[in-house]
Symmetry: C2
Subunit: 247 residues, 2 copies
Amino acid sequence: MSGRLFNEVIQNHRSIRQYTDQQVSDEIIKDLLQSAKSASTSHNVQAYSIIIVRDVQKKKKLAELTGNQSYVEKCPVFFVLCADYYRLKKVSEWHNQPFEVNELEQVLVGGVDTALVAQNLLLAAEAYGLGGVMIGGIRNQPKEVAELLNLPKYTFPVMGLCIGYPAQSPELKPRLPESATIFYDEYNEDQLEQAIKEYDQVTEAYYGARTNSQKGEPWSKQMAQHLSKPNRAHLESFIKNQGFLKS
Amino acid sequence: MSGRLFNEVIQNHRSIRQYTDQQVSDEIIKDLLQSAKSASTSHNVQAYSIIIVRDVQKKKKLAELTGNQSYVEKCPVFFVLCADYYRLKKVSEWHNQPFEVNELEQVLVGGVDTALVAQNLLLAAEAYGLGGVMIGGIRNQPKEVAELLNLPKYTFPVMGLCIGYPAQSPELKPRLPESATIFYDEYNEDQLEQAIKEYDQVTEAYYGARTNSQKGEPWSKQMAQHLSKPNRAHLESFIKNQGFLKS
Protein backbone atom coordinates (compact mmCIF):
# COMPACT_ATOMS: atom_id res chain seq x y z
CA MET A 1 0.00 0.00 0.00
CA SER A 2 1.35 3.38 -0.91
CA GLY A 3 2.53 5.85 1.72
CA ARG A 4 0.65 8.63 -0.06
CA LEU A 5 -2.69 6.79 0.18
CA PHE A 6 -2.16 5.99 3.84
CA ASN A 7 -1.37 9.63 4.54
CA GLU A 8 -4.50 10.68 2.67
CA VAL A 9 -6.59 8.71 5.15
CA ILE A 10 -4.83 10.43 8.07
CA GLN A 11 -5.26 13.86 6.49
CA ASN A 12 -8.93 13.23 5.80
CA HIS A 13 -9.73 13.22 9.53
CA ARG A 14 -12.71 15.23 10.68
CA SER A 15 -14.73 14.77 13.86
CA ILE A 16 -17.97 12.87 13.23
CA ARG A 17 -20.81 13.39 15.70
CA GLN A 18 -23.78 11.89 13.82
CA TYR A 19 -24.06 8.19 13.03
CA THR A 20 -26.27 5.85 11.04
CA ASP A 21 -28.01 2.95 12.81
CA GLN A 22 -25.51 0.47 11.39
CA GLN A 23 -23.71 -1.46 14.12
CA VAL A 24 -19.95 -1.99 14.10
CA SER A 25 -19.21 -5.68 13.61
CA ASP A 26 -17.26 -7.67 16.19
CA GLU A 27 -14.75 -8.55 13.48
CA ILE A 28 -13.96 -4.89 12.84
CA ILE A 29 -13.84 -4.06 16.57
CA LYS A 30 -11.34 -6.87 17.00
CA ASP A 31 -9.10 -5.42 14.28
CA LEU A 32 -9.36 -1.91 15.76
CA LEU A 33 -8.26 -3.21 19.17
CA GLN A 34 -5.32 -5.01 17.61
CA SER A 35 -4.27 -1.70 16.04
CA ALA A 36 -4.83 0.17 19.29
CA LYS A 37 -2.49 -2.07 21.23
CA SER A 38 0.25 -1.78 18.60
CA ALA A 39 1.06 1.80 19.63
CA SER A 40 4.40 2.76 21.12
CA THR A 41 4.58 2.80 24.89
CA SER A 42 7.00 4.33 27.36
CA HIS A 43 9.38 1.67 28.73
CA ASN A 44 6.77 -0.95 27.73
CA VAL A 45 4.56 0.01 30.68
CA GLN A 46 1.42 -0.09 28.45
CA ALA A 47 -0.19 2.19 31.01
CA TYR A 48 -3.69 2.29 29.51
CA SER A 49 -6.98 0.43 29.53
CA ILE A 50 -9.96 0.61 27.22
CA ILE A 51 -13.54 0.22 28.44
CA ILE A 52 -15.86 -0.58 25.54
CA VAL A 53 -19.31 0.72 26.41
CA ARG A 54 -22.33 -0.56 24.49
CA ASP A 55 -24.74 -0.75 27.40
CA VAL A 56 -27.50 1.73 26.59
CA GLN A 57 -28.01 2.97 30.15
CA LYS A 58 -24.29 3.49 30.70
CA LYS A 59 -23.92 5.43 27.44
CA LYS A 60 -26.88 7.59 28.46
CA LYS A 61 -25.30 8.30 31.84
CA LEU A 62 -21.89 8.99 30.23
CA ALA A 63 -23.54 11.46 27.83
CA GLU A 64 -24.75 13.39 30.89
CA LEU A 65 -21.43 13.18 32.69
CA THR A 66 -19.49 14.50 29.67
CA GLY A 67 -21.60 17.66 29.48
CA ASN A 68 -24.79 16.43 27.79
CA GLN A 69 -23.07 15.41 24.58
CA SER A 70 -25.87 13.46 22.91
CA TYR A 71 -23.54 11.68 20.47
CA VAL A 72 -21.99 9.82 23.42
CA GLU A 73 -25.39 8.19 23.90
CA LYS A 74 -26.22 7.83 20.23
CA CYS A 75 -22.97 6.39 18.86
CA PRO A 76 -23.12 2.60 18.46
CA VAL A 77 -19.95 2.09 20.47
CA PHE A 78 -18.26 4.35 22.98
CA PHE A 79 -14.72 3.78 24.20
CA VAL A 80 -13.41 5.16 27.49
CA LEU A 81 -9.63 5.35 27.35
CA CYS A 82 -7.98 5.37 30.75
CA ALA A 83 -4.46 5.79 32.04
CA ASP A 84 -3.93 2.60 34.04
CA TYR A 85 -1.22 1.83 36.60
CA TYR A 86 -3.44 -0.59 38.53
CA ARG A 87 -1.90 -3.61 36.76
CA LEU A 88 1.52 -2.20 37.54
CA LYS A 89 0.61 -1.84 41.22
CA LYS A 90 -0.43 -5.51 41.26
CA VAL A 91 2.85 -6.72 39.76
CA SER A 92 4.83 -4.54 42.18
CA GLU A 93 3.06 -6.35 45.02
CA TRP A 94 3.78 -9.75 43.46
CA HIS A 95 7.48 -8.92 43.43
CA ASN A 96 7.48 -7.20 46.84
CA GLN A 97 8.75 -3.93 45.40
CA PRO A 98 7.90 -0.37 46.41
CA PHE A 99 5.54 1.35 43.99
CA GLU A 100 6.54 4.90 43.12
CA VAL A 101 3.94 6.84 41.15
CA ASN A 102 4.21 10.10 43.04
CA GLU A 103 5.80 12.12 40.24
CA LEU A 104 4.20 14.13 37.45
CA GLU A 105 6.13 11.84 35.07
CA GLN A 106 3.72 8.95 35.72
CA VAL A 107 0.63 11.09 35.11
CA LEU A 108 2.18 12.34 31.87
CA VAL A 109 3.21 8.84 30.75
CA GLY A 110 -0.30 7.58 31.51
CA GLY A 111 -1.82 10.38 29.43
CA VAL A 112 0.65 9.95 26.57
CA ASP A 113 0.46 6.13 26.42
CA THR A 114 -3.33 6.38 26.38
CA ALA A 115 -3.34 9.07 23.69
CA LEU A 116 -1.08 6.99 21.42
CA VAL A 117 -3.51 4.08 21.73
CA ALA A 118 -6.50 6.37 21.14
CA GLN A 119 -5.02 7.82 17.97
CA ASN A 120 -4.36 4.34 16.59
CA LEU A 121 -7.93 3.35 17.45
CA LEU A 122 -9.50 6.35 15.74
CA LEU A 123 -7.34 6.08 12.59
CA ALA A 124 -7.96 2.35 12.40
CA ALA A 125 -11.70 3.06 12.50
CA GLU A 126 -11.52 5.84 9.91
CA ALA A 127 -9.73 3.49 7.51
CA TYR A 128 -12.79 1.21 7.70
CA GLY A 129 -15.11 4.07 6.75
CA LEU A 130 -16.14 4.67 10.32
CA GLY A 131 -15.97 8.08 11.93
CA GLY A 132 -15.62 9.37 15.44
CA VAL A 133 -14.84 12.10 17.85
CA MET A 134 -12.65 12.25 20.94
CA ILE A 135 -14.41 13.37 24.12
CA GLY A 136 -12.31 15.39 26.58
CA GLY A 137 -15.52 15.92 28.56
CA ILE A 138 -14.86 12.51 30.13
CA ARG A 139 -12.66 14.54 32.51
CA ASN A 140 -15.58 16.80 33.53
CA GLN A 141 -16.77 14.50 36.29
CA PRO A 142 -14.06 11.85 36.56
CA LYS A 143 -15.15 10.59 39.99
CA GLU A 144 -18.64 9.77 38.70
CA VAL A 145 -17.18 8.18 35.56
CA ALA A 146 -14.87 6.04 37.72
CA GLU A 147 -17.81 4.88 39.86
CA LEU A 148 -19.98 4.09 36.86
CA LEU A 149 -17.27 2.03 35.17
CA ASN A 150 -15.86 0.46 38.34
CA LEU A 151 -12.42 1.99 37.70
CA PRO A 152 -9.94 1.03 40.42
CA LYS A 153 -7.31 3.18 42.10
CA TYR A 154 -4.26 4.07 39.98
CA THR A 155 -6.41 4.75 36.91
CA PHE A 156 -8.00 7.88 35.48
CA PRO A 157 -10.08 8.53 32.37
CA VAL A 158 -8.11 10.46 29.72
CA MET A 159 -10.64 10.67 26.91
CA GLY A 160 -13.76 9.14 25.46
CA LEU A 161 -14.12 8.13 21.82
CA CYS A 162 -17.41 7.85 19.95
CA ILE A 163 -17.30 5.53 16.92
CA GLY A 164 -19.93 4.78 14.28
CA TYR A 165 -20.78 4.97 10.58
CA PRO A 166 -20.97 8.68 9.59
CA ALA A 167 -24.34 10.27 8.91
CA GLN A 168 -22.74 13.64 8.20
CA SER A 169 -19.93 14.90 6.01
CA PRO A 170 -18.45 18.02 7.59
CA GLU A 171 -15.78 20.16 5.97
CA LEU A 172 -12.17 19.70 7.00
CA LYS A 173 -11.44 22.06 9.89
CA PRO A 174 -8.47 24.29 9.05
CA ARG A 175 -5.38 23.87 11.24
CA LEU A 176 -2.73 26.38 12.24
CA PRO A 177 -0.31 27.03 9.37
CA GLU A 178 3.01 25.22 9.46
CA SER A 179 4.87 28.41 10.34
CA ALA A 180 3.00 28.55 13.66
CA THR A 181 3.80 24.99 14.77
CA ILE A 182 6.91 23.73 12.94
CA PHE A 183 10.43 24.95 13.64
CA TYR A 184 13.81 24.00 12.21
CA ASP A 185 16.69 23.29 14.61
CA GLU A 186 15.32 25.73 17.17
CA TYR A 187 12.15 27.53 18.24
CA ASN A 188 11.67 30.86 16.48
CA GLU A 189 8.99 33.09 17.90
CA ASP A 190 9.44 35.75 15.22
CA GLN A 191 7.36 33.69 12.81
CA LEU A 192 4.36 33.31 15.13
CA GLU A 193 2.49 36.61 14.89
CA GLN A 194 2.07 36.63 11.13
CA ALA A 195 1.10 32.94 11.13
CA ILE A 196 -1.58 33.37 13.78
CA LYS A 197 -3.02 36.44 12.03
CA GLU A 198 -3.33 34.46 8.80
CA TYR A 199 -5.05 31.68 10.70
CA ASP A 200 -7.42 34.15 12.33
CA GLN A 201 -8.64 35.19 8.88
CA VAL A 202 -9.08 31.58 7.83
CA THR A 203 -11.02 30.69 10.99
CA GLU A 204 -13.20 33.82 10.81
CA ALA A 205 -14.32 32.69 7.36
CA TYR A 206 -14.68 29.04 8.40
CA TYR A 207 -16.81 29.70 11.49
CA GLY A 208 -18.73 32.43 9.69
CA ALA A 209 -19.77 29.96 6.96
CA ARG A 210 -20.90 27.43 9.58
CA THR A 211 -23.09 29.94 11.39
CA ASN A 212 -24.33 31.66 8.21
CA SER A 213 -22.97 34.96 9.45
CA GLN A 214 -20.43 37.12 7.70
CA LYS A 215 -17.72 36.54 10.23
CA GLY A 216 -17.12 33.96 12.90
CA GLU A 217 -14.91 34.35 15.93
CA PRO A 218 -11.23 34.20 14.96
CA TRP A 219 -9.18 31.45 16.56
CA SER A 220 -7.09 33.79 18.72
CA LYS A 221 -10.20 35.24 20.33
CA GLN A 222 -11.74 31.82 20.96
CA MET A 223 -8.53 30.66 22.60
CA ALA A 224 -8.12 33.78 24.74
CA GLN A 225 -11.64 33.27 26.05
CA HIS A 226 -11.19 29.54 26.57
CA LEU A 227 -8.06 30.09 28.69
CA SER A 228 -9.34 33.12 30.59
CA LYS A 229 -10.67 31.00 33.43
CA PRO A 230 -9.52 27.84 35.23
CA ASN A 231 -10.48 24.71 33.36
CA ARG A 232 -11.25 21.39 35.10
CA ALA A 233 -9.73 22.61 38.34
CA HIS A 234 -10.99 19.43 40.08
CA LEU A 235 -8.75 17.14 38.02
CA GLU A 236 -5.64 17.34 40.18
CA SER A 237 -7.41 16.36 43.39
CA PHE A 238 -9.20 13.49 41.63
CA ILE A 239 -5.93 12.17 40.22
CA LYS A 240 -4.29 12.52 43.65
CA ASN A 241 -7.15 10.55 45.20
CA GLN A 242 -6.50 7.85 42.62
CA GLY A 243 -3.01 7.43 44.09
CA PHE A 244 -0.84 9.68 41.95
CA LEU A 245 1.30 12.72 42.76
CA LYS A 246 2.06 13.90 46.29
CA SER A 247 -0.86 14.68 48.53
CA MET B 1 -7.72 1.77 0.20
CA SER B 2 -8.93 -1.10 2.31
CA GLY B 3 -9.33 -0.77 6.06
CA ARG B 4 -7.61 -4.10 6.55
CA LEU B 5 -4.47 -2.99 4.69
CA PHE B 6 -4.33 0.28 6.61
CA ASN B 7 -4.64 -1.62 9.88
CA GLU B 8 -1.85 -3.97 8.79
CA VAL B 9 0.50 -0.99 8.58
CA ILE B 10 -0.48 0.11 12.08
CA GLN B 11 -0.08 -3.41 13.45
CA ASN B 12 3.32 -3.81 11.83
CA HIS B 13 4.84 -1.14 14.09
CA ARG B 14 8.16 -1.93 15.71
CA SER B 15 10.71 0.52 17.08
CA ILE B 16 13.59 1.07 14.62
CA ARG B 17 16.90 2.26 16.06
CA GLN B 18 19.28 1.64 13.13
CA TYR B 19 19.06 3.56 9.88
CA THR B 20 20.63 3.51 6.43
CA ASP B 21 22.42 6.62 5.13
CA GLN B 22 19.48 7.50 2.90
CA GLN B 23 18.10 10.95 3.64
CA VAL B 24 14.38 11.62 3.98
CA SER B 25 13.22 13.85 1.11
CA ASP B 26 11.68 17.24 1.76
CA GLU B 27 8.61 16.10 -0.15
CA ILE B 28 8.04 13.20 2.24
CA ILE B 29 8.74 15.36 5.32
CA LYS B 30 6.13 17.80 4.05
CA ASP B 31 3.53 15.04 3.77
CA LEU B 32 4.39 13.71 7.25
CA LEU B 33 3.88 17.17 8.74
CA GLN B 34 0.54 17.51 7.00
CA SER B 35 -0.50 14.21 8.59
CA ALA B 36 0.87 15.26 11.97
CA LYS B 37 -1.23 18.40 12.08
CA SER B 38 -4.41 16.53 11.10
CA ALA B 39 -4.67 14.92 14.54
CA SER B 40 -7.56 15.63 16.89
CA THR B 41 -6.97 18.38 19.43
CA SER B 42 -8.72 19.35 22.65
CA HIS B 43 -11.00 22.37 22.07
CA ASN B 44 -8.86 23.19 18.99
CA VAL B 45 -6.04 24.48 21.19
CA GLN B 46 -3.44 22.66 19.04
CA ALA B 47 -1.15 22.83 22.04
CA TYR B 48 1.98 21.36 20.45
CA SER B 49 5.02 22.36 18.44
CA ILE B 50 7.49 20.28 16.46
CA ILE B 51 11.19 21.12 16.28
CA ILE B 52 12.80 19.35 13.32
CA VAL B 53 16.45 18.79 14.16
CA ARG B 54 18.90 17.99 11.37
CA ASP B 55 21.82 20.04 12.65
CA VAL B 56 24.58 17.53 13.38
CA GLN B 57 25.90 19.23 16.51
CA LYS B 58 22.42 19.59 17.99
CA LYS B 59 21.58 15.95 17.35
CA LYS B 60 24.86 14.95 19.00
CA LYS B 61 24.05 17.05 22.04
CA LEU B 62 20.47 15.73 22.18
CA ALA B 63 21.81 12.16 22.06
CA GLU B 64 23.78 12.95 25.24
CA LEU B 65 20.87 14.70 26.92
CA THR B 66 18.50 11.80 26.29
CA GLY B 67 20.79 9.33 28.05
CA ASN B 68 23.45 8.63 25.40
CA GLN B 69 21.04 7.16 22.90
CA SER B 70 23.29 7.01 19.83
CA TYR B 71 20.37 6.67 17.40
CA VAL B 72 19.27 10.20 18.30
CA GLU B 73 22.55 11.36 16.74
CA LYS B 74 22.59 8.86 13.90
CA CYS B 75 19.03 9.12 12.61
CA PRO B 76 18.75 11.40 9.54
CA VAL B 77 16.02 13.49 11.13
CA PHE B 78 15.07 13.93 14.76
CA PHE B 79 11.82 15.51 15.84
CA VAL B 80 11.30 17.07 19.26
CA LEU B 81 7.61 17.19 20.06
CA CYS B 82 6.68 19.79 22.64
CA ALA B 83 3.54 20.75 24.49
CA ASP B 84 3.15 24.42 23.58
CA TYR B 85 0.94 27.05 25.24
CA TYR B 86 3.28 29.92 24.30
CA ARG B 87 1.18 30.82 21.24
CA LEU B 88 -1.89 30.73 23.47
CA LYS B 89 -0.23 33.06 25.98
CA LYS B 90 0.47 35.51 23.12
CA VAL B 91 -3.14 35.54 21.90
CA SER B 92 -4.40 35.98 25.47
CA GLU B 93 -2.26 39.13 25.66
CA TRP B 94 -3.58 40.38 22.30
CA HIS B 95 -7.12 40.10 23.63
CA ASN B 96 -6.31 41.42 27.12
CA GLN B 97 -7.53 38.25 28.80
CA PRO B 98 -6.20 36.51 31.89
CA PHE B 99 -4.22 33.35 31.08
CA GLU B 100 -5.07 30.38 33.28
CA VAL B 101 -2.74 27.41 32.90
CA ASN B 102 -2.34 26.60 36.56
CA GLU B 103 -4.28 23.34 36.51
CA LEU B 104 -3.11 19.80 35.84
CA GLU B 105 -5.66 19.81 33.01
CA GLN B 106 -3.43 22.01 30.84
CA VAL B 107 -0.35 19.84 31.38
CA LEU B 108 -2.39 16.77 30.48
CA VAL B 109 -3.94 18.42 27.40
CA GLY B 110 -0.47 19.52 26.28
CA GLY B 111 0.85 15.98 26.64
CA VAL B 112 -2.17 14.40 24.96
CA ASP B 113 -2.35 16.86 22.03
CA THR B 114 1.37 16.33 21.45
CA ALA B 115 1.08 12.54 21.63
CA LEU B 116 -1.78 12.49 19.08
CA VAL B 117 0.41 14.50 16.68
CA ALA B 118 3.40 12.25 17.36
CA GLN B 119 1.46 9.08 16.64
CA ASN B 120 0.24 10.50 13.33
CA LEU B 121 3.80 11.48 12.46
CA LEU B 122 5.25 8.05 13.21
CA LEU B 123 2.50 6.13 11.39
CA ALA B 124 2.74 8.48 8.41
CA ALA B 125 6.47 7.74 8.24
CA GLU B 126 6.01 3.98 8.60
CA ALA B 127 3.59 4.01 5.68
CA TYR B 128 6.42 5.42 3.53
CA GLY B 129 8.73 2.56 4.53
CA LEU B 130 10.51 4.68 7.12
CA GLY B 131 10.97 3.53 10.68
CA GLY B 132 11.43 5.25 13.99
CA VAL B 133 11.39 5.22 17.73
CA MET B 134 9.88 7.56 20.30
CA ILE B 135 12.34 8.96 22.84
CA GLY B 136 10.94 9.57 26.33
CA GLY B 137 14.53 10.37 27.38
CA ILE B 138 13.91 13.90 26.07
CA ARG B 139 12.40 14.43 29.54
CA ASN B 140 15.65 13.37 31.28
CA GLN B 141 17.16 16.87 31.17
CA PRO B 142 14.33 19.08 29.96
CA LYS B 143 15.97 22.35 31.07
CA GLU B 144 19.05 21.68 28.94
CA VAL B 145 16.87 20.59 26.01
CA ALA B 146 14.86 23.81 26.32
CA GLU B 147 18.05 25.90 26.30
CA LEU B 148 19.51 24.06 23.31
CA LEU B 149 16.32 24.47 21.25
CA ASN B 150 15.44 27.96 22.47
CA LEU B 151 12.11 26.76 23.86
CA PRO B 152 10.14 29.62 25.44
CA LYS B 153 8.09 29.62 28.61
CA TYR B 154 4.77 27.72 28.49
CA THR B 155 6.33 24.84 26.54
CA PHE B 156 7.86 21.53 27.57
CA PRO B 157 9.32 18.64 25.59
CA VAL B 158 7.04 15.58 25.66
CA MET B 159 8.98 13.16 23.46
CA GLY B 160 11.60 12.87 20.77
CA LEU B 161 11.13 10.88 17.59
CA CYS B 162 13.95 9.40 15.48
CA ILE B 163 13.02 8.80 11.84
CA GLY B 164 15.01 7.15 9.03
CA TYR B 165 15.10 4.24 6.59
CA PRO B 166 15.41 1.00 8.58
CA ALA B 167 18.70 -0.88 8.65
CA GLN B 168 17.29 -3.53 10.96
CA SER B 169 14.24 -5.74 11.00
CA PRO B 170 13.38 -6.58 14.60
CA GLU B 171 10.63 -8.97 15.62
CA LEU B 172 7.28 -7.60 16.69
CA LYS B 173 7.36 -7.04 20.44
CA PRO B 174 4.48 -8.92 22.09
CA ARG B 175 1.87 -6.76 23.84
CA LEU B 176 -0.31 -7.50 26.85
CA PRO B 177 -3.19 -9.82 25.94
CA GLU B 178 -6.56 -8.23 25.34
CA SER B 179 -7.93 -9.61 28.61
CA ALA B 180 -5.42 -7.44 30.51
CA THR B 181 -6.29 -4.16 28.81
CA ILE B 182 -9.80 -4.35 27.30
CA PHE B 183 -13.00 -4.37 29.35
CA TYR B 184 -16.67 -4.46 28.41
CA ASP B 185 -19.05 -1.97 30.04
CA GLU B 186 -16.99 -1.89 33.23
CA TYR B 187 -13.52 -2.62 34.59
CA ASN B 188 -13.09 -6.19 35.77
CA GLU B 189 -10.01 -6.91 37.79
CA ASP B 190 -10.75 -10.62 38.06
CA GLN B 191 -9.38 -11.16 34.57
CA LEU B 192 -6.02 -9.48 35.21
CA GLU B 193 -3.96 -12.06 37.08
CA GLN B 194 -4.30 -14.83 34.54
CA ALA B 195 -3.68 -12.43 31.66
CA ILE B 196 -0.48 -11.03 33.18
CA LYS B 197 0.82 -14.53 33.98
CA GLU B 198 0.33 -15.54 30.35
CA TYR B 199 2.13 -12.42 29.23
CA ASP B 200 5.00 -13.12 31.62
CA GLN B 201 5.58 -16.45 29.89
CA VAL B 202 5.49 -14.80 26.46
CA THR B 203 7.92 -12.06 27.49
CA GLU B 204 10.30 -14.51 29.22
CA ALA B 205 10.60 -16.35 25.92
CA TYR B 206 10.83 -13.14 23.87
CA TYR B 207 13.59 -11.53 25.93
CA GLY B 208 15.35 -14.88 26.35
CA ALA B 209 15.60 -15.27 22.57
CA ARG B 210 16.98 -11.74 22.20
CA THR B 211 19.69 -12.32 24.76
CA ASN B 212 20.44 -15.91 23.72
CA SER B 213 19.67 -17.11 27.20
CA GLN B 214 17.04 -19.64 28.12
CA LYS B 215 14.84 -17.17 29.92
CA GLY B 216 14.56 -13.42 29.94
CA GLU B 217 13.02 -11.31 32.64
CA PRO B 218 9.23 -11.59 32.63
CA TRP B 219 7.32 -8.35 32.08
CA SER B 220 5.91 -8.19 35.61
CA LYS B 221 9.40 -8.29 37.12
CA GLN B 222 10.73 -5.62 34.74
CA MET B 223 7.81 -3.36 35.60
CA ALA B 224 8.10 -3.90 39.36
CA GLN B 225 11.78 -2.91 39.15
CA HIS B 226 11.10 0.05 36.87
CA LEU B 227 8.53 1.50 39.28
CA SER B 228 10.41 0.70 42.48
CA LYS B 229 12.10 4.12 42.53
CA PRO B 230 11.06 7.68 41.64
CA ASN B 231 11.34 8.34 37.92
CA ARG B 232 12.15 11.80 36.51
CA ALA B 233 11.41 13.47 39.84
CA HIS B 234 12.72 16.79 38.40
CA LEU B 235 9.91 17.03 35.81
CA GLU B 236 7.33 18.73 38.00
CA SER B 237 9.62 21.60 39.05
CA PHE B 238 10.76 22.10 35.44
CA ILE B 239 7.16 22.26 34.21
CA LYS B 240 6.29 24.65 37.04
CA ASN B 241 9.22 26.86 36.05
CA GLN B 242 7.83 26.89 32.52
CA GLY B 243 4.69 28.55 33.87
CA PHE B 244 2.31 25.65 34.53
CA LEU B 245 0.67 24.37 37.71
CA LYS B 246 0.72 26.19 41.01
CA SER B 247 4.10 27.04 42.46
